[in-house]
């Protein structure tokens, strides 16, 4: 039975080493890291190790990492935490129109709390124009949140230019980077970008669901989302998800080893796939950046005239797993806000599929997937008059 998983932007298969480690931690290192006895200490050590692993990878200090339940919580903590804590400086916030829903909806709820938000538009390839950003920065702007790599269309934002432009106008504006998709795939130049916060998620880097973290530059003030036992320096109360955090550290480490080589492999898988599709002559459009410009692991294609859900299920029937629009919100029948922001027409919106690759895929798989896609598109085009 064919089983080709091309939905790595939604979530990834964990490394066997990670699941093995987590199993051991769950059954043996079950102590509460806050407990004073040895069982607690063992658990605390695992968390410390994971913290060290992540900090090393992003080249920052360990005490700047706050573990969370995942990317969504990291984004919420960054956006709401900074805004509430710094509201005496101003109530103006900025973010792009193609942020992940965990960021967009955090801003929307701040809007209801009396904050003023400006959403930065993107061009038809999904890029923010840094020259436009500085026009929107004001004296009372406190935060700007930008996603490094977009999870649906793979656009990589020019963070260096954006960071430069905002800080020129107002050096007090904090820059939050949602690095969930780029972590371990692209170099993270937090210094060069002049970033102050960055969000990460474990399950996008072959780790478990239920863990992630927020990097917070030393000195940045945040209000926590939860009240409780003051774990994570008071910024994230709640007993730590020890096994998942340990798994996160290991997964991040393994994913980052030979990063360049791995990404050139993934990138060539994507290239092979697109070439196959394009050579076949079926009607198909690339949404977002052209394949060589975008992040190496994601390609978003539209098959105008066909419905993405049907294509998705037809591929599923062949054992090939992809995403319609963005899996995080494919439970909603509305088209993706990202694809709408880059100005796709209705047909292209309805026929959009996202293929996302990982190092667990191989050449043979993507060729099979491309061939099946071509077959299905031809079959369905004939059927749906």
């Amino acid at each position: 039975m064919i089983d080709i998983y091309l939905d790595n932007s939604s979530t990834t298969r964990p490394y066997p080493e990670v699941t093995e480690l987590m199993g051991t931690v769950l059954s043996e290192t079950y102590g509460n890291p806050s407990s004073l006895h040895d069982k607690g200490l063992e658990a605390e050590k695992l968390i410390r190790q994971a913290r060290r692993q992540i900090a090393t990878l992003i080249n920052r200090r360990e005490d700047e990492i706050v573990f969370t339940s995942g990317g969504t919580e990291a984004n919420n903590l960054a956006i709401k935490g900074v805004s509430f804590r710094n509201s005496q400086r101003g109530k103006h916030l900025l973010c792009s129109s193609i942020e992940h829903l965990s960021a967009l909806n955090s801003f929307r709820s701040l809007e209801r709390e009396g904050f003023e938000i400006n959403f930065l538009p993107v061009n038809s390839r999904g890029y923010i124009d840094p020259g436009e950003v500085n026009k929107l920065v004001r004296d009372d702007t406190i935060l700007i949140s930008i996603m490094h790599v977009n999870n649906e269309i793979a656009s990589i934002q020019p963070l260096k230019e954006i960071g430069y432009q905002i800080k020129v106008v107002n050096p007090d504006v904090l820059l939050h980077v949602d690095a969930v998709q780029s972590f371990t795939r692209l170099p993270l130049r937090l210094e060069e970008w002049k970033a102050d916060l960055a969000s990460f998620s474990a399950h996008k880097v072959h780790g478990p669901k239920g863990a992630g973290c927020l990097w917070i530059r030393e000195g940045t003030k945040l209000q926590p989302l939860f009240d409780g036992g003051e774990q994570e320096r008071g910024l994230r109360s709640g007993t730590e998800n020890v096994a998942a955090i340990a798994g996160f550290g290991l997964a991040a480490k393994l994913s980052s080893e030979n990063q360049k080589h791995k990404m050139s492999v993934v990138s060539s898988l994507k290239k092979t796939f697109i070439n196959k599709i394009q050579e076949s002559g079926i009607h198909c459009l690339i949404n977002g950046p052209l394949q060589e410009e975008g992040a190496p692991h994601i390609i978003n294609l539209s098959f105008p005239g066909l419905k993405s859900e049907i294509l998705l299920h037809a591929l599923e029937e062949k054992g090939i797993y992809v995403s319609a629009g963005s899996a995080c919100h494919s439970r909603h029948p509305e088209p993706s806000h990202v694809l709408k922001s880059i100005g796709l027409n209705r047909q292209a919106l309805e026929g959009a599929l996202r293929f996302s690759f990982s190092i667990f895929n191989n050449e043979e798989e993507v060729i099979t997937a491309a061939e099946e896609t071509i077959k299905i598109v031809r079959h369905l085009s004939g059927l749906i008059k």
Binding site: E309, I310, H313, L315, H332, L383
Partner: protein, 387 residues
């Protein structure tokens, strides 16, 4: 602690010589509903008494109140047929009532006429006893803040405060076995519920057209059956693929006939399943006039595909009533989840509203209907969905 629950049933007590059979079926269904809580059922002068562990009180009352045939249920306190013991028990019950409830009444029902005190006298005796014990209590026959009811049985007396309504109707299984055509929509689960209410055992048949519909829409059918099984214990769900049937029609017939042709195939498939499972009637969520396939002409042409009796319990209901009932039986929220079911794709823009049987039959004659049916039947999967 032991919990006692009095179960009242209405309609079935009226059915003359069938009464015994009805009571047996209800007995069996009640038993099935509370067996997992180690409760047992005994019969009593036109009522049932359920005895079980008090720790499961809420669960047992909820389960009993969902058994068709049950009119209402009450938690009761049992005593010997002895005036003093009844008095003592009634005082215990007053202690359970919130202290701010000041007005009360007593309502006695003397099924056992050998008991020496007639009902009005019992009311007076108990009332004055309680007023002596609790001087702040005031009798109010019209609008009491609480009412103590007393049933004088043949062996025991029962006292109780409140009643929870049951769904009424007839015990499931008493009128026969049926097959419900279950889509993912709002109507068909309600139709199934109404069929069960009239005593039918229900099995369900769901059609999908994977990959044109997702697996989640099949999961929806399972979840709907789980809700219906709350009332009947379990629902066998048969799932059939009609993808190839729809493709055949798409390729060979005009678009506007697609729905009528598909519905006729669904009835034929339902007939095959019914034969295998010894089911004697089909139940559908069809209504009149809501959509094109539900005009009188369409329903007539669709129904001609089968000889079987087709029951349409929703035909007398407005959409609003159906939605209200769907919410009450808790299927509504599942039904409105946005997964496509097999009717929304291949949907013609302008479906025919007054189909002609001759034309439909002409197109069917050009197709190998038997093979299409066989192929679909071979795809059948059955799951038993339990409460």
């Amino acid at each position: 602690m032991i919990l006692k629950v009095l179960v009242r049933y209405g309609e079935i007590a009226l059915k003359g010589k069938n009464r015994n059979q009805f009571e047996q079926q209800l007995h069996q269904n009640l038993n099935a509903a509370v067996r997992e809580y180690n409760a047992s059922i005994s019969r009593l002068h036109g009522r049932f008494i359920v005895t079980g562990p008090a720790e499961y009180k809420d669960q047992i009352l909820k389960q009993l109140s969902r058994v068709f045939g049950v009119v209402s249920v009450s938690e009761v306190w049992e005593t010997e047929l002895d005036l003093e013991m009844i008095k003592n028990e009634s005082a215990e019950i007053v202690n359970l009532v919130p202290p701010e409830s000041q007005t009360f009444k007593i309502a006695t029902r003397r099924a056992n006429k050998k008991f020496p005190y007639p009902s009005p006298e019992m009311n007076r005796l108990l009332g004055s006893h309680l007023q002596q014990l609790f001087p702040s209590l005031i009798v109010n026959l019209k609008q009491p803040s609480f009412k103590i009811s007393l049933e004088i049985g043949f062996d025991k007396a029962y006292l109780y405060l409140d009643s929870v309504s049951g769904p009424g109707g007839l015990p499931v299984g008493i009128t026969g076995r049926s097959l419900l055509l279950l889509s993912g929509g709002i109507d068909s689960p309600v139709a199934g519920w109404m069929a069960m209410k009239r005593g039918l055992t229900v099995e369900a048949l769901h059609f999908h057209s994977f990959p044109f519909t997702g697996r989640r829409s099949q999961e929806k059918a399972v979840e709907l059956c789980r809700k219906l099984a709350q009332y009947s214990g379990k629902i066998p769900l048969h799932i059939v693929s009609v993808t190839n049937i729809q493709k055949e029609f798409k390729a060979n017939c005009p678009d506007e006939l697609a729905i009528i042709l598909l519905r006729r195939m669904m009835l034929r498939l339902a007939e095959v399943v019914s034969e295998k499972r010894y089911l004697k009637a089909l139940v559908t969520g069809e209504n009149l006039g809501q959509v094109a396939s539900q005009t009188l002409e369409s329903i007539t042409v669709i129904a001609k595909a089968t000889e079987m009796l087709v029951l349409r319990p929703l035909v007398g209901m407005d959409k609003r009533d159906i939605i209200e009932l769907a919410k009450r039986i808790d299927t509504y929220d599942i039904s409105i989840q946005p997964y496509e079911d097999c009717c929304t794709l291949f949907m013609p823009r302008k479906p025919v509203t007054k189909p002609k049987i001759e034309i439909i039959e002409k197109f069917e004659a050009g197709l190998d209907i038997e093979t299409m049916l066989e192929e679909a039947i071979s795809s059948i999967e059955t799951v038993i969905v339990k409460r």
